[in-house]
Assembly symmetry: D2
Homo-oligomer: 339 residues x 4
């Protein structure tokens, strides 16, 4: 940690800072400049609280120079982590698409979805049984019955399932149904109790980025899961909130190369929630793969106009198939493949 003193800081102020750092068992370097004195703490600064120093007399600012995350950091784990989802690798040279409807509606809809997913060459299926909805008066998901329908439809096509967990109390049920990948949604990215619980199991977790979460906060949220022992974490960029009102969110493609540099864990993109309109999905999907994403989470519905939620953002089966073709081409240029 670097502590920059005010121009008028006294020798006594400096001595107090030095003493405080040494108390914590760290070494100290004091550099007296012409305009400012700068104090450096030598050793594991993660023990030091920046805010505590900023309350001390004569301190202008205290700056961490190390990243606060450790298990998820590429610095400590240089090789890419490949997550194994019932034999399907996520995070390696193969780009994985996960597709399916926004919400589980009926057995027929799920069967049609599963077969369309399979037909498009997609190897993992998504679907929501418990839905986080902005209004208490709109459809809240089919719940446990939805989970049952989803499991059956996916099993018929031998597709692992990805679904969202909103409440710690539902985790045992998710385990009973053998959910293959648990999704933590945008609104729960900093629901720390939920993160701790999924940290205690070993099912892969997709951690969606909070609506206005910084890269650093997002990595720290993953660190919560990892600190519990579950290192099977997949980051999912889904668009951030900005001033722009012409589309729902702004897909942050820059996050892809930046995360790939900071962490060894896989990074996927949800182009459907990012743009909010089906017609934007192909362009955003291509951009994500071109920027180096390890996979996509795409909404597809056998009959989008009849979908019970987010009807306007789902691709139909034909559109998914066309998109897969384009993505195969782009992945190839980057030396990757799509199953």
């Amino acid at each position: 940690m670097i502590i920059v003193m005010h121009r008028e800081a006294t020798d006594r102020d400096v001595a107090a800072i030095v003493a405080r750092i040494e108390e914590q068992g760290l070494g100290v370097n004091v550099s007296r400049g012409t305009e400012r004195t700068v104090i450096g703490a030598i050793g594991d600064e993660r023990k030091l609280d920046q805010v505590m120093f900023e309350t001390m007399a004569g301190v202008e600012q205290a700056l961490h120079i190390l990243k606060p995350y450790k298990i998820v950091a590429r610095e400590w784990h240089p090789e890419d982590t490949v997550i194994n989802i019932r034999g399907i690798p996520l995070g390696g040279p193969q780009v994985q698409v996960i597709a399916g409807p926004c919400s589980v509606e009926t057995p027929e809809q799920m069967a049609a979805s599963a077969s369309a997913v399979k037909a498009a060459g997609v190897r993992l299926m998504r679907g929501g049984a418990f839905k986080p909805r902005t209004s208490p008066y709109t459809f809240q998901g089919t719940g446990v019955e939805g989970l049952e329908m989803f499991r059956q439809a996916a099993d018929a096509e031998n597709l692992p399932i990805v679904t969202e967990l909103m409440d710690v109390r539902q985790l045992p049920m998710f385990m009973d149904y053998g959910v293959d990948v648990i999704q933590i949604g945008t609104r729960n990215m900093q629901n720390f109790d939920l993160l701790k619980e999924v940290g205690r199991i070993n099912v892969p977790v997709i951690l969606k980025r909070g609506m206005s979460a910084t890269i650093s906060e997002w990595l720290m949220a993953a660190e919560y899961i990892a600190a519990g022992g579950n290192h099977n974490i997949i980051f999912c960029e889904r668009g951030i909130r900005t001033f722009e009102t012409a589309y729902r969110n702004v897909l942050d493609v820059t996050a892809i190369p930046v995360l790939k540099k900071e962490t060894h864990l896989p990074v996927i993109v949800d182009p459907s929630h990012a743009g909010g309109k089906a017609w934007m999905v192909p362009a955003l999907s291509r951009a994500a793969v071109a920027a180096g994403a390890d996979g996509l989470l795409v909404e597809m519905h056998p009959s989008p106009c009849d979908a019970w939620c987010d009807a306007d953002q789902a691709l139909n089966p034909q559109e998914l198939q066309t998109l897969m073709g384009e993505l195969r081409g782009i992945a190839g240029i980057l030396g990757r493949s799509i199953a």
Copy 2:
């Protein structure tokens, strides 16, 4: 709802929309303009899904003209709601300050805090036993023991207590300790399962605004609580996330008059988390009361430099007392009082 058709929409497209609206039992008004045909649905549009119409042929956009919230809306409840917290009114002419430390540390710290709160003329006390922390490696709160310490210290001064609930599983414990006001934190504003649970009890709830929640989303989050039967809801503005990095958050004072217009429920402000520095708190507190806030949630610590968390944003007892004096003056100009 207003549905604006594309310039090239056909008569058949228009007929399909009309049929769909009538199916839902609403009336229809069709206005054929020179550049666009506009269709209006007559009746309770809350039954209609805007997104569903936007997937239909020929539709350019669908617009709700009614607000999606009802119980919390002033439109349906014109008088101010005054919430009774063990005899202390919040939301009426009296401006209420809630003060106390960021986190519960020791019995001595809590006793000193409670007596400082009382001495400043403050009638409600805050303190955190369960802490939402960005890093899994920092202090996570004293938990149930903290709740016990808090209850005892506050009881000694006869102060109702306000503390944060992060996990649905802790609600019974909060009831056992007789928590007087439950705080739902920023990161949980859209933790819908938690909102539903606090909607089932009748303890007053402070609902903090999400870091980048719109006024409309915030009102809808309150509607979740209200829909369960608990109408004792207090909105708490605590700064929003923007591009500015010179301070932690941007206190959104405009939200105060806007919320007071939209809802009958009380609106308070947390100036401590908004700015993130103790020296900013007096200016922000005065601004909040001057803009019409019904109360404040302020961090105070008997010895800020020794605080276990957020040390740089707590006032000391003397600063709180000085601030109370200024606030009494401002409240008086607006025809209000501070106990």
Copy 3:
């Protein structure tokens, strides 16, 4: 325009609105719903001022249903506009890259840049002679001498030049040097006097997006240029300002398909200013082309470490060449080519 009345609006309020619309020569449709009366104006609503209606008694809100831009709108000009820059097409099937240094430094640097640009297969060259710098104490550009150096170096390789205009008084000088494409920078997107001046000439203009400009404001800024008679306008997305601090700006790829839908004019992307670091440029460039951009504006320097400004965001000649290869592949998948 749609005017939504308050629930308690009187017949007299409605009559006043109707009269005001009719005064302007438009027709009126009044729809009396169960909760609200909605008034529609029939005819060219661009004559009506939404704000004016919102001051009238009984009005809740007034909404435009038509887009405020006309010349730049695809609605009125469905075919793509292809801009001819000394024989080089921008906006058609060929994706055009524009490359060169951030700032013009010396004749040697410019000669080396021009030959590297040419060698990479790039057909247009960029370089800044007048620089908008955040601080008055940093390098402000080489000015007219820079323009001279740029012209000579580019002419030696027969490359059209692209450079930024910051001040209306410099326009005659730009014309004298035969600047082939004038760039209007981010900070000047709403410098309306400058827009009007470049609207009076017929040199192509690259209009960069303002740091926090909405799509609609950006289209309106282009409409300022177009209204003067110059329809040779190229939109350039260069990253927007958000809460994220891990990189300089957030490249808004969603803007690409959205603009292509709204306007017939070409859309290019500046990946260098978006990310702010050279190592991010290839990923962002690929994403832009994959999302459908018509071109790129890329910083390249013969020796990035010695650059006088923005040293850390320029590619070196070899990196540019490698990138061009990847982009050719992606363009090919979309049925496009790169010269």
Copy 4:
């Protein structure tokens, strides 16, 4: 400047950095920690370019520890600057209100405005002759005739005038009409050529904050003016752009105490553009004065419904008078006065 090296940086990398700093005539302090080596430059770091160091081998990040602004900084000028506007002090204990219409329309409207301004006890008058409008198709201001009308109306009441300059070419005309305070609008905060021009004269300048300008960029924009010799600069906060759509901008009250700490120059607030609705203006004005603003810039129109622009944000004369009364009370509590 502090330069943090990568964990794997070599001795040679460190030596190169040290040499580069010494070349610039600064001293060096090298601190070898357990995880990182940190290099400090000792002396006037304003000579060093952070970005240049970030391109050198082995560098993780380079951090400035001094603020980039100097003339405007309170660090170098601890006392408040009081600006003298034809005998009226701005920046001292007296809080100054500047009021008047959004735009100059007719001699009658200006005469009525001036007398209402005077009657309310306001000592400075505002009015726009040249208007920055988002659309080229809307009213662009009455121009030089407007300036003439404004001058005459204000002179009749002996009020100094404040008006916006958009184009460097209009500056001589502004001087001819003896404009007392020149306003630089939001969209021109980083129009550096315009800033340089107003830096060459000695008329006071109101510098409005850019829509998404950071405090630091805003101070640097003022430094541009100050560097030219004109130190009569007044900062004007007018709301920033965020994700919120319920109001036009978010008034950033936190900027008031923060600026007052960073600079010795006066800080005023424009509550009219911030909220965008007249009914929000009193609450925002009170908040601004309570937070320590040195003045306000308020829109007032003798007949708001008939205003030619921004009709819905102007107070009427009676509302202005009532507001002045409230502000006097709040200023008094802070030990200040309003003329």
